[in-house]
């Protein structure tokens, strides 16, 4: 069956290249966005083929799902939604410049990847796993060994949401123009399933692929579905407004953990091995909640008004 897997991989590689080309040079923005979303799904499949299920989960949830939703929502704000904007592709010098540049960059990247030490840091990670507090090496790296990187990632998400909200208020109607009775029913029916799947992914992160980012993305997608079904975001309303502190909760919790361990005589971000397990679970929980709400806030594309004109706030 070796030839079948090789054929599948080849098909995947060709499909990825073709979709990338389509999303850059296809006619019409809608087409490009859909190509990009399918590209994300195939990319997740490619990560599975490379034995990296963690990255595959993140790619499918964030790369294809949330990014696709963000792009579609941006597209619906485009002044001429159905006509493709005039992008000047007649500049003849452009391919002559970009093609060699791309080839040189790709060869350099390939060379760099080729020269990486073969097992990487896998051996060191496996050796230190006993101190990490979790069984999944990816979670150990993300939330213990290199927790500082994760702190910065969540910080960037928060910064993005703050900047987007500060650019303007949410103006356009949120629900689609032709509401179907099926959509609110679907939202009500499926939202518990979103919460369940997200909790499952979060809990699994300790011993298997999963963790805060896929969990947050799934929960955020559930929120977006509720929004499309006609729900009102409650982040800025009078009675629930303070809940928007959850946006910063993940970052604050990670900072607190990083600085708090100094008090018990450890270095910055160096968890005491006995406390590492519960601490990581707590950080995953706060980070997952924050990521879900941050992705939702990014999707809104503007600060929601303090008061809605009519209708209940869910």
């Amino acid at each position: 069956m070796a030839w079948a897997t090789v054929a599948f991989d080849l098909l995947l590689a060709v499909g990825l290249g073709w979709l990338a080309w389509q999303s850059m040079h296809g006619t019409g923005l809608f087409r490009a966005v859909v190509s990009f979303m399918v590209f994300g799904l195939l990319m997740a499949l490619a990560w599975v083929r490379l034995d990296a299920p963690d990255i595959a989960l993140a790619e499918a949830a964030i790369g294809a799902g949330i990014t696709g939703a963000l792009l579609l929502s941006a597209l619906s704000r485009w002044p001429e939604a159905d006509g493709s904007p005039d992008v000047d592709r007649r500049r003849r010098w452009a391919p002559g410049f970009w093609m060699p540049t791309a080839i040189v960059l790709l060869s350099l990247l390939g060379l760099a990847a080729w020269r990486l030490p073969a097992p990487g840091l896998g051996v060191e990670t496996a050796a230190a796993l006993g101190l990490a507090g979790v069984d999944n090496p990816v979670t150990a790296v993300l939330l213990n060994f290199r927790a500082f990187d994760t702190l910065l990632e969540i910080g960037i998400l928060l910064l993005g949401a703050v900047v987007i909200w500060s650019l303007g208020t949410l103006s356009q109607p949120l629900a689609p123009t032709a509401p179907s009775p099926a959509l609110p029913a679907l939202g009500r029916l499926l939202f518990p399933a979103f919460v369940l799947a997200s909790t499952y992914l979060l809990w699994r992160g300790g011993h298997a692929p999963g963790g805060a980012f896929p969990a947050g993305a799934v929960l955020g997608a559930g929120g977006i579905l509720m929004l499309l079904a006609g729900a009102r975001p409650w982040l800025t309303s009078d009675e629930h407004g303070p809940w928007r502190w959850i946006l910063a909760l993940g970052l604050l919790a990670m900072l607190a953990a990083a600085v708090g361990v100094l008090a018990v005589g450890q270095d910055f971000f160096q968890y005491p091995p006995a406390l590492a397990g519960p601490l990581i679970l707590l950080l995953e929980l706060t980070a997952g909640l924050s990521i879900a709400l941050l992705l939702f806030a990014l999707y809104l594309g503007g600060q929601p008004p303090v008061r809605w004109d009519r209708g209940p706030t869910p």
Partner: protein
């Protein structure tokens, strides 16, 4: 055990023609409504057969139930999505083919 695995493989193979005809319908049918009709029906039956076949091949009850759950979620999502697309097309004034 071998019989169950063979049966699972047979179900997966049986699912393929449904995907094929759904895709054929998407490519060849004249308007958005008929294309939705082909996709929402053909692919869902195909996916059900493939999920059931893979579940039987996996030989684990938990895995089979997970695959069936995926199929059910897909059924709900695909029915709602197809309905939404069709309604939006109606509101935008796209006439069904032949009317």
């Amino acid at each position: 055990m071998r019989v169950v695995e063979w049966f699972g493989g047979l179900l997966v193979l049986l699912g393929m023609p449904f995907f094929f005809s759904g895709t054929l319908g998407l490519l060849r049918f004249p308007d958005v409504y008929t294309r939705l009709h082909a996709l929402a029906k053909g692919d869902n039956v195909g996916l059900g057969l493939v999920c059931l076949g893979l579940g039987l091949q996996s030989g684990s009850l938990a895995m089979t139930l997970k695959l069936l759950l995926i199929w059910i979620l897909m059924l709900i999502a695909s029915a709602t999505g197809a309905g939404l697309i069709a309604r939006t097309a109606m509101v935008r004034g796209i006439k069904p083919w032949g009317l």
